[in-house]
């Protein structure tokens, strides 16, 4: 009975505390929950023009061959990841980069003017 009488007298305070607890819980969820990789997709660009877009969320494991500015390249992809598997460029730096799987990340083949970029907002503004 005392509890209900307390509620009746201080219901505004209780309501405010209740709202704050809910809001705080939601903010925890919003701030700390990992972002889901929904519809992750990658663009392959030649000279800044999109050659093709690949849906990485389907989980297909495939390889595609593209013509870079000077040589052929093989791009491989699987669930939420993509890489340059082969390139005719002299340095093979693009191949050495390996698999990328984060939004906003890219692989650049300077020799062939090709960029493989996973679309989305990167966690960093600049990646060196």
């Amino acid at each position: 009975m005392k509890f209900f009488s307390f509620l009746r007298k201080r219901w505004i305070d209780v309501l405010v505390i209740f709202i704050l607890v809910i809001a705080t819980s939601l903010s925890f969820v919003f701030v700390y929950s990992p972002k889901e990789k929904k519809n992750m997709n990658a663009d392959i660009l030649l000279e800044n023009e999109i050659l093709c877009n690949i849906d990485l969320s389907k989980g297909e494991e495939k390889e595609i061959e593209i013509e870079g500015l000077y040589t052929k390249m093989v791009i491989a992809y699987k669930l939420n990841s993509i890489c340059v598997k082969e390139s005719g460029c002299p340095s093979k730096f693009c191949v050495k980069t390996g698999w990328i799987s984060e939004e906003g990340r890219s692989i650049i083949c300077l020799h062939n003017h090709v960029v493989v970029r996973i679309n989305g907002e990167a966690s960093s503004d600049v990646i060196i």
């Binding site: 705080t24 701030v31 002299p90 340095s91 650049i108 300077l110 503004d125 600049v126 060196i128």
Partner: protein, 310 residues
Amino acid sequence: MFLPLFGLICSCKGTVPFARSTQFYMDTYCECLVYGNNKIEENQYLAKAFDILGKVELAADPTHVRSELYRLNTDRSISNPSKELKEMLEYALLAKEDTEGLYNPFVANLKQMVNEFKILDEKSVEKETYKANNTSLTITDESIKIEGDANIDLGGIAKGYAIERIKEEYKGINGYLINAGSSSILLGEKPDSSTGEFVIELVMQNLKFKAKNTYISTSGIENQYWYDEEQNLISHIINPLTGSFSPLHQSVTILGQDGALGDAYTTAMMNMEMDDIKTFCKDKNYEYIVVSGEIGNSTIYHSSGVNIIK
């Protein structure tokens, strides 16, 4: 309990719209990003940046027959040089002097050898190193003349010079980011961040730091190295004094208010001992991050002014 809520409220400044464009200049992808609410004005600023990058490329591309530098290397002198080429060469000579020859613009032939993956025979390297250290320039308002046999490469100057010119054009705005292929970066302020800072990530080291209103210059071997038959590491970073292609560090990043010289300085610092880097950066008022040691077993050194977040 309320800390995350407070943090969330503080961090939610709202997303500020921006215009962004990426174009291929100077053998790399250059990304320009300008914040604001006026799309036409933002695009004008982007166009200004790419116009400067185009002018600098036309002056400094050593491989393009239309470029001034190509003509200078071929004809050994040119008349009526552009403002861009003249200023870049002056910066290059200044950087050479400041670093006591550890940055040297006369390494074009050595660079070509490594870029073409030619077998680096000792005699050729020795010959080209000698040429690089025995060539000079005469610069007047009317002409530029190479005295000696080496060719010029402005790879360590051109991008930094371009972003310095872009900064002059961007005096009327605060929110921008110009990334000339990671080696030369110009940061204004990020309007939708609570502190105005951008987050920069050294991806190979999984290291993040924050910065604003600064130039950032980086030289590093990253994935750009291989091993010769004797298992010596070969990279595109050359020590012009010794002809070595194996620098002392994996990467050097500096932050400061000098854009044009930054990339040349970091190139030189790749072949400086750590104590010399500290002294050099103190003298020149730069903050630094140096990644040293063997690949896969790195040690990171940084000055106290770098705002490391991870």
